[in-house]
Symmetry: C2
Subunit: 217 residues, 2 copies
Amino acid sequence: MTLAYPLTDPRTARPTSALADAFERHGVRMIYARNEEIYAQDDEVELLYRVVKGVVRTSRLTVDGRRQVGDFYYAGDIFGLEPGPDHRFAAEALDDCEILVVRRSAVRAFAGDAALDRAILEAQRLEMERLQEHVVMLGRKSARERVASFLMSIAQRQSDEHADLAMGRQDMADYLGLTIETVSRMLTQLQGDAIVEFPSSRRFQVRKWTALEALAA
Amino acid sequence: MTLAYPLTDPRTARPTSALADAFERHGVRMIYARNEEIYAQDDEVELLYRVVKGVVRTSRLTVDGRRQVGDFYYAGDIFGLEPGPDHRFAAEALDDCEILVVRRSAVRAFAGDAALDRAILEAQRLEMERLQEHVVMLGRKSARERVASFLMSIAQRQSDEHADLAMGRQDMADYLGLTIETVSRMLTQLQGDAIVEFPSSRRFQVRKWTALEALAA
DNA sequence: CGTTCGGTTGAAGATAGTCAAGAAGCGTGG
DNA sequence: CCACGCTTCTTGACTATCTTCAACCGAACG
């Protein structure tokens, strides 16, 4: 990890809330290399993070080595906001990342309790929505449907015709509660049905939106 | 649903937080019959609920009829606290229930923004922890492990030697992301291994705590 | 005493996982 | 620029797990 420079950058600034404002003023800009750990499982929760550039993955390891990926965070997303005194999920940089970090107490002093609490509340909302969707997906969707949902959410995020996958197959698998082989098979299957097309393993294009939507439902 | 009487009952009162306090003062006591709906999926979020007596189940139905149970709420638990403007999960009374209900805006006026936000924050914490656990369970545990985890959490909650299941097999299955048959089979299997014992289908006793814990891990 | 409902059990089938091999991309160094 | 090794992804064959469909059992209730 490299400490870069504390900064308020107008390009990445989004001073829409007390929280965003606090990030601008008190944030420290950090650089993380690919696969570097941002915080560990069971670390104390004391900082808030916002992705400026790159993609972050949260994940949890069970004692016997099974891994569950919590979510992926892209530029603008806030993460590290977890209930309880320590992190149940670790956070790692998927690729080279630029992250704004603020100390929670610093934010509180700056923003005032009420404003901060409301801002954090809002961030937690998003987090909970993600979790709720995740639960339904893992509990009630088939492998094919999970993969379709995943591609759907990625494709929606990117306005471009082509969508890029920031993560490898293993990360997808651990997010979807599947094995890497099953993910791979489902992808080739969706491609065989001409629903999506992969010019390369990390890049795809949706061919039949309605079909993909139906699966993702 | 039957409206009972607005009340502050010292037995069920837990005036430890602004939220609890608000429930005491502004709560309306409602009675729901077994399987009665408390709020529907896609209803607007505007009320907060606290279980006084009975058990509540939240669940979500997909378009094609699959059901995912979100969680079960027992006496003292707060529910209905969801992100977004409307409920993604419905809430229903598992058995005959007594519920304290407060209007969010009323609570806010009473408690003051800051105190309320912090109290809601705390309740949301618990909710997020449940969701995180649920994700890991659905994503990375086998049927046997899921059932074991479930029994474990029920048994821990009840101080008694015997633990009672408030819900039927179907509800367990929909919570665990399994079918009713698989749940049943895992239960008989755990019983066969003398890890738990079911004198009746709704009542059990843990025989080998260490074995159950190992599975639940 | 029959009916209903919730739970269990069995047999067969589908879905996803495991193990193993092969192909394709990618960076490094000759 | 090509060759090599490494990693990631794909594919195949087989197995395990879970689901499906169906029958059965037993307690609760009229």
